[in-house]
């Protein structure tokens, strides 16, 4: 399951949903808002998603992970809106029979989410400027 939400992500509560009597391993990833990027002091991040396609593409990624790693349970939640330093922007949790496939599946899902989901983030800097991440070249020539 994948969710897009404006609400706070609570990994401890989400993790409980992955319990499976056949699972011997759980692996979770949390992406946090940090206060610096490429030398700029960052105050907060603003996330925007095109939800209909973010959900369908996210479901495809989770299905791919389940095909690669049998008996996998997987769940992902991504935030949108304005997030402050230290907040959780994305959470991926998986459970699997053994740790190796749990680590690999979690890594596969977060790596794919980052490059495939129609989600964008705008950094708001301490100097009052802002910029869309991965769009530096566009911003410079705009």
């Amino acid at each position: 399951m994948i969710e897009i939400t404006t609400n706070e992500i609570r990994p401890d509560e989400l993790r409980a949903g992955l319990f499976d009597p056949g699972a011997g391993a759980y692996c979770g990833f949390e992406g946090w808002i940090r206060n610096v990027n490429e030398g700029h002091d960052v105050l907060r991040l603003e996330y925007e998603a095109y939800e209909p396609l973010a959900l369908t593409e996210g479901q495809k990624i989770l299905a791919e992970a389940r095909d690669r790693f049998p008996h996998l349970q997987a769940h992902c939640v991504h935030r949108t809106g304005m997030l402050e330093i230290g907040e959780c922007a994305v959470w991926v949790g998986v459970s699997a029979p053994h740790r190796d496939e749990a680590f690999q599946a979690c890594r596969y899902i977060i790596d794919q989410l980052k490059v495939r989901l129609p989600i964008w983030k705008k950094e708001h800097y301490a100097d009052g400027h802002s910029g869309w991440v991965n769009c530096e070249r566009c911003a410079k020539s705009a």
């Binding site: 095109y50 989410l113 129609p118 964008w120 983030k121 705008k122 991965n134 566009c138």
Partner: protein, 80 residues
């Protein structure tokens, strides 16, 4: 001539100053639509770094567009 709805997201939306617009274009592919809007709004990001969807389905730049389609232009994504 095809009448298309073009939707802009994130940086593209800010650059165009609008969420979406209806355009009449001589366009055969998604790339033609992208190029027409780039000329129109001056966004310089190459299409290879961007993604496109047609009627809520992810598409390729050489995907054909039809009269009445909604073309969604996505600047480089940055989830996570």
């Amino acid at each position: 001539m095809k009448t298309l709805t073009v939707r802009y997201f994130a940086m593209f939306r800010e650059h165009a100053g609008i969420d979406e617009e209806n355009l009449s274009l001589e366009a055969e592919t998604a790339a033609d639509v992208f190029n027409a809007t780039r000329d129109r709004h001056g966004s310089p990001e190459p299409s290879g770094h961007c993604k496109v969807a047609i009627n809520d389905e992810m598409a390729d730049w050489n995907s054909p567009v039809s009269d009445g389609d909604t073309v969604l232009l996505f600047p480089p994504v940055a989830g996570g």
